[in-house]
C-alpha cells in the first residue's frame, strides 16, 4: 500500500501539473484501472508464485488508482489564484509541486489514501480467499470447507475491525493536518 501511495501520489501530482504527461499516461492508466484487483490474482500467482510479490501486486492494483486519481484531482483543482501568486513569486516547477500543489492537495490525497486503504485491504483478503497458504482469508476458506460458521464469522469481523482501525488512524492524521491549517475547527 505504501508502494501504491509512493508511486501514485507523485505521479498524480505530476500529471496534474504537466498536461503533456497527463495526455500520455491517462489512456494507459484508464485501460488498466478497470481490471478488478481480484482479476490480477492469477497473473500475480503465475508471476510471483507464493512469495510476497503476489499479495503486494494485488494490494497495489487495488490501492494505486485512488492514490493517483486523488492526487491528480488535488493538483488540478488548486485555487488558481494560489498558482498565480506562486508564479508571480518566480517559483520553479519542482518547488511549486512540493510547496504549493502538494500541501493544497492534502485533503484530496488523504481522502484517496482512505479509499486506497479500504480497497487494498479488501483486495488482499479477496486474493487470500483464492490463493494463499496463510492469513485470515485462508483461514476462512478452510473454515468454510470444514463448515465451521463461527470461524468464518470471526474472520469477517476481524477483517472489518482491522479495516476500520486503519481508517480511523488515517482520519486522525487527516484531522491533525487540517487543524494545523485551520481548515477545520
Amino acid at each position: 500500500m505504501s508502494l501504491a501511495a509512493a508511486v501514485g501520489i507523485p505521479l498524480g501530482l505530476l500529471m496534474g501539473w504537466f498536461r503533456l504527461l497527463d495526455d500520455v499516461v491517462s489512456p494507459i492508466f484508464e485501460g488498466l484501472r478497470f481490471i478488478a484487483p481480484i482479476a490480477w490474482v492469477p497473473f500475480a500467482a503465475l508471476w510471483f508464485g507464493t512469495g510476497i510479490g503476489g499479495p503486494v501486486m494485488i494490494i497495489f492494483a487495488g490501492a494505486f488508482p485512488p492514490c493517483l486519481i486523488n492526487a491528480y484531482r488535488g493538483a488540478r483543482f488548486v485555487d488558481p489564484h494560489l498558482i498565480e501568486a506562486s508564479q508571480m513569486l518566480g517559483t520553479g516547477h519542482l518547488r511549486t509541486i512540493l510547496e504549493v500543489l502538494l500541501p493544497a492537495s492534502v485533503p484530496s490525497i488523504v481522502a484517496g489514501l482512505r479509499v486506497a486503504a479500504g480497497l487494498g485491504w479488501q483486495s488482499l483478503v479477496g486474493a487470500e480467499l483464492i490463493v494463499a497458504a496463510a492469513g485470515v482469508g485462508f483461514m476462512m476458506v478452510q473454515a468454510q470447507a470444514n463448515v465451521s460458521t463461527p470461524t468464518v464469522m470471526a474472520g469477517m469481523i476481524a477483517i472489518g475491525i482491522a479495516g476500520m482501525l486503519i481508517d480511523v488512524l488515517l482520519r486522525q492524521g487527516e484531522a491533525a493536518i487540517l487543524r494545523r491549517r485551520g481548515l477545520q475547527a
Binding site: 485555487d79 489564484h81 494560489l82 498565480e84 501568486a85 506562486s86 508564479q87 508571480m88 513569486l89 518566480g90 517559483t91 520553479g92 518547488r95 510547496e99 504549493v100 500541501p103 493544497a104 492534502v106 494545523r180 491549517r181 485551520g182 481548515l183
Partner: protein, 265 residues
C-alpha cells in the same frame, strides 16, 4: 526603471463562439514610479489590463512592455497583490513572505534581514509565526503587500486590494499605502471601483468605458494634489474635505455614470 506601456492592446476572450471583447485599443504609458489608478464599471476590463502586465494573460493583439521589453510571463519584477490575498494557508506569515526570496536564491541571512524589514514596515512583527487563518482580513492583506514589497519589484500591481476589507480597515490601508508610497516609491498600477480611493492614492486616474473597455479619459491628480498641498494632511478625511478633491471626485463619478446604460440620455 519600471515604466509600463500599453500599445494598441486588444483582448478577446474565447469563452463563447463569438468571443468576448474585453479590451479595445488600449494605449497607455505609465512613467517609472508613477502611481496610476484605473477605475471603471464592472466587467470593463480593468483587471484584464493588470493581468496582462502581470503576465497571466496575453493580449490578442498589440503589446504590453515594461522598461521597453514585452511582457512574456509572470515574475517578481511585477509583484501582484490580489483582492482575496492569495496567501498560502499552510505557510506562516514568515513562510509566505520568504517564498519569493528563496526563489531568488538569496542567502539565509539576507532573507532574514529582508523579512524582518518587511514585517517591521507592515507592522506584522508580532504575527510572524501565525497562519493566515489566524489573522484578520486587513492583516492578511498586509502580509500580501509585505510579500510583494520584499521582492523590491519595479512594478507593483494591485487588483482591488482593499475590496475584500471592511470600510474602516480599508481607510486605514489606504493611509498606509500612501505612507509606503512616499517612503519607498515605485511604479504602481492600481485597479479599483472606488473613485475616492483612486483620487486619494493616484498620480493619474484612467477612466475606462464599459465593455469593450477603452480608456475614456486620463485625469491628472498629482498637479492638483501638489498645488493644493494635500500632503499637509495626515488623515484621509481631511484630504477628502478639500474642494479640489471633491471636484475631481465628482468629475470622475460623472464620467463613470455615463457608462451605465440606464443613465444614458
Amino acid at each position: 526603471m519600471g515604466s509600463i506601456r500599453f500599445d494598441r492592446v486588444n483582448k478577446i476572450f474565447e469563452t463563447t463562439k463569438a468571443g468576448v471583447k474585453a479590451l479595445d485599443d488600449i494605449n497607455l504609458e505609465i512613467a517609472e514610479k508613477e502611481f496610476v489608478a484605473i477605475v471603471g464599471p464592472s466587467g470593463c476590463g480593468k483587471t484584464t489590463c493588470l493581468r496582462i502586465v502581470a503576465g497571466f494573460e496575453r493580449p490578442t493583439s498589440g503589446s504590453v512592455s515594461v522598461n521597453g521589453k514585452p511582457v512574456s510571463g509572470p515574475g517578481p519584477d511585477r509583484a501582484v497583490v490580489f483582492q482575496h490575498f492569495a496567501l498560502f494557508p499552510w505557510k506562516t506569515v514568515r513562510g509566505n513572505i520568504e517564498l519569493g526570496l528563496r526563489n531568488k536564491n538569496l542567502a539565509k541571512d539576507r532573507r532574514g534581514e529582508l523579512i524582518a524589514g518587511a514585517l517591521n514596515l507592515m507592522n506584522l512583527e508580532s504575527h510572524a509565526d501565525a497562519f493566515p487563518h489566524q489573522l484578520s482580513g486587513g492583516m492578511q492583506q498586509r502580509v500580501a503587500i509585505a510579500r510583494a514589497y520584499v521582492l523590491d519589484p519595479e512594478v507593483l500591481l494591485m487588483d482591488e486590494p482593499f475590496g475584500a476589507l471592511d470600510a474602516q480597515t480599508r481607510v486605514m490601508m489606504q493611509e498606509e499605502l500612501v505612507r509606503l508610497a512616499r517612503v519607498n516609491p515605485r511604479t504602481v498600477l492600481f485597479i479599483t471601483h472606488s473613485v475616492e480611493e483612486a483620487v486619494y492614492l493616484a498620480d493619474r486616474v484612467a477612466v475606462m468605458t464599459r465593455r469593450p473597455g477603452r480608456i475614456k479619459e486620463m485625469i491628472d491628480i498629482k498637479a492638483i494634489r501638489n498645488a493644493e498641498n494635500w500632503n499637509q494632511f495626515q488623515r484621509i478625511e481631511d484630504v477628502m474635505d478639500q474642494e479640489s478633491f471633491i471636484h475631481l471626485r465628482t468629475h470622475i463619478w460623472k464620467s463613470l455614470r455615463e457608462e451605465k446604460p440606464e443613465d444614458r440620455h
